[in-house]
Amino acid sequence: MLLWCAMAEESADTTEYQAKAKRMAALEEDLLRMAQGDMAALERFYEGTKTAVYGFVLSILKHAHDAEDVMQEVYLQIYSAAGRYRPDGNPMPWVLTIAKNLALMKLRQRKRESQMTAEEAEAFLNSVAWESGVSREDSMVLRSLLLTLSAEELQIVMLHAVAGCRHREIAAMLELPLPTVLSKYRRALKKLKKQWEEGHE
């Protein structure tokens, strides 16, 4: 599991916890190197964080091509801002905040509502979506995520399940009260469970 944000509390499994801490320390180290212009560090950092960044950006934009554009901008910004990062043991909230801001900027530029109707979303997905080397099963999972969940539910699921953020961290990042995040997360999982169990009978 790629649990980045999560650093404490759910550390019943000490080895897993230590592995996480180690990974975070490595990412932090790479950020510091990036500030010195180390391209290899940037490459490692990219590989270590790309899934979390992409998932989150996609959840805001709901559009594969836009998400890809923004992803590039995110790493450019991370690279140029690396010198301003203040090490605190966990760079993911910083990274995801940059991702959020750039994704929102894109959203505003395009003036596209984050809440599309189901038909619009379907049309989008059919026209552009996941043609490039994404398996049918994965693209169906993504499709049902985008169509089933509300914008906020989707962001919360991506931040928790993919980026490994704790609900408290998600609450801070999305500027929502913690109980709202928790209940939206529960509701989202319930929806997905329903959808997938029905779809697979």
Binding site: M1, L2, G37, M39, L42, E43, Y46, E47, K50, T51, Y54, G55, L58, A64, A67, E68, M71, Q72, E73, Y75, L76, Q77, Y79, S80, A81, R84, W94, T97, N101, L102, L104, M105, L107, R108, S114, V134, E137, D138, S139, V141, L142, L145, S150, A151, V157, M158, H160, A161, V162, E175, L176, P177, P179, S183, K184, R187, L189, L192, K193, W196
Partner: protein
């Protein structure tokens, strides 16, 4: 399928579909390196703010190395710019920036790579507004900004406040944004003031805390705990929508945009449609913005006959978050005196009346609670139960069994 399975499935799907942009990123970073942060990424139009930013960047370069700013950097005024990024600038008597502080995470994004110490205040403000536009914190859908000035000399502070307000308004219109600019005077040294306590407790700027305190004081329905999580734009929308007048100590220019929300009219339609009523059939129709659990909502109220309706509608999605139906209190009293001695019903009948009203079979309801209570001088049963994912709350008249109040909301 359990939660872990679902999470794993989502994670796998995303991991497998991440586009490969590694080469593009590496080559761009190599080419551009860490240059002037304001000119990265966007190279299309040269809009108004970009020119300001370019000027600011030149100033930074010119002045950065000279070290002149080491002289005379006693702080004269402290200026805070709040949008959601919250930035504090301390300037000396010559209005040169002595210190810049980012007060929240968004501020760090804005300040990214900028060295504003030593520049003139207006140059710094230009650069900051430019960065806020560039990063999407200020736009035509989110157009509010708060300027707070702290200077011991009140007249001087006032003059600076007015000048900054005008300047920021002009900067925004140069970028085709109709700004909604709020400004006020604050006093950082008065740590006993209520606003100072709020600022300290919630780690927000003194300026934002002062604004929140003014709003909460004007409107009893809004509390500091809810307001603290809103950005300036959302606060400004509440001010406008609820007609709160704080003009005695806060200047305001322009109108907060509600373009990113569904709008009062649409909210009204949603509520009326849900109630199955037409606009002409109801009276006292009112809509204003509100905040519920940190979510911006439209509160729609109207009356039909003796019944008051109250809806809370998510301002972005249009989802109905809560609805209430209540007997008009005027009628309540008159009805009461008229039929003083009806039959007193028992708890089971009261529960049955509530279930019938909700259209829920007794077998579907769970977590049923019922208790006898006094409300407005009459005896009522307070009944609560859940069915499916909805929670219901009723008040049933213990005399006669009429439904006096019904409420339902999703449990989640």
């Amino acid at each position: 399928m359990n939660d872990r399975d679902i999470e794993e499935r989502v994670r796998q799907a995303v991991e497998h579909s991440v586009p490969d942009v590694r080469e593009a990123i590496l080559s761009q970073c190599e080419r551009e390196g860490r240059v002037t942060p304001m000119s990265e990424m966007e190279t299309k139009k040269k809009s108004g703010w970009k020119q300001f930013a370019a000027i600011a960047a030149v100033f930074v370069v010119m002045l950065g190395g000279t070290g002149w700013f080491l002289q005379g950097n006693a702080v004269d005024s402290v200026i805070e710019l709040d949008v959601n990024p919250s930035i504090q600038l301390s300037v000396n008597r010559k209005e040169r920036v002595v210190e810049v502080k980012g007060l929240n995470d968004d501020a760090l994004v804005i300040l990214d790579g900028m060295e504003l110490e030593g520049t003139d205040l207006d140059v710094a403000v230009n650069a900051l507004i430019g960065s806020m536009l560039k990063n999407g914190y200020l736009s035509d859908i989110q157009n509010s900004i708060l300027i707070s000035v702290d200077n011991k000399d009140e007249a001087k502070g006032k003059e600076l406040q007015e000048r900054l307000m005008k300047e920021v308004g002009e900067l925004l219109s140069a970028s085709a944004v109709d700004g909604a600019v709020l400004s006020q005077q604050v006093n950082h040294e008065d740590t006993t003031a209520e606003a100072a306590q709020i600022a300290k407790e919630y780690q927000i700027s003194a300026g934002k805390a002062a604004l929140i305190e003014k709003i909460a004081k004007k409107d009893a329905a809004l509390n500091v705990g809810d307001l603290k999580d809103l950005n300036i734009h959302q606060l400004n929308l509440l001010l406008e929508s609820r007609n709160l007048d704080i003009s005695s100590d806060t200047a305001s220019a322009g109108k907060a945009s509600d373009k990113s929300y569904i709008g009062a009219d649409r909210a009204m339609d949603i509520a009326l449609r849900d109630a199955g009523l037409s606009k002409s059939a109801v009276t006292k129709l009112e809509t204003e913005m509100d905040v519920e659990n940190g979510v911006m909502t439209y509160e729609v109220e109207f009356k039909v006959g003796g019944v008051e309706y109250d809806y809370e509608i998510d301002a972005v999605s249009g989802e109905i978050l809560q609805k209430k139906k209540e007997q008009d209190s005027d009628r309540e009293t008159s009805g009461n005196s008229g039929s003083a001695e009806g039959t007193t019903i028992d708890k089971a009948s009261a529960q049955a009346a509530a279930l019938k009203h909700a259209g829920v079979a007794a077998s579907e309801a769970y977590d049923m609670e019922a208790k006898l209570d006094r409300d407005d001088g009459r005896t009522v049963y307070e009944i609560e139960f859940k069915a499916g994912s909805i929670e219901y709350e009723y008040e049933i008249d213990a005399v006669g069994g009429a439904v006096l109040k019904s409420e339902s909301e999703p449990i989640d």
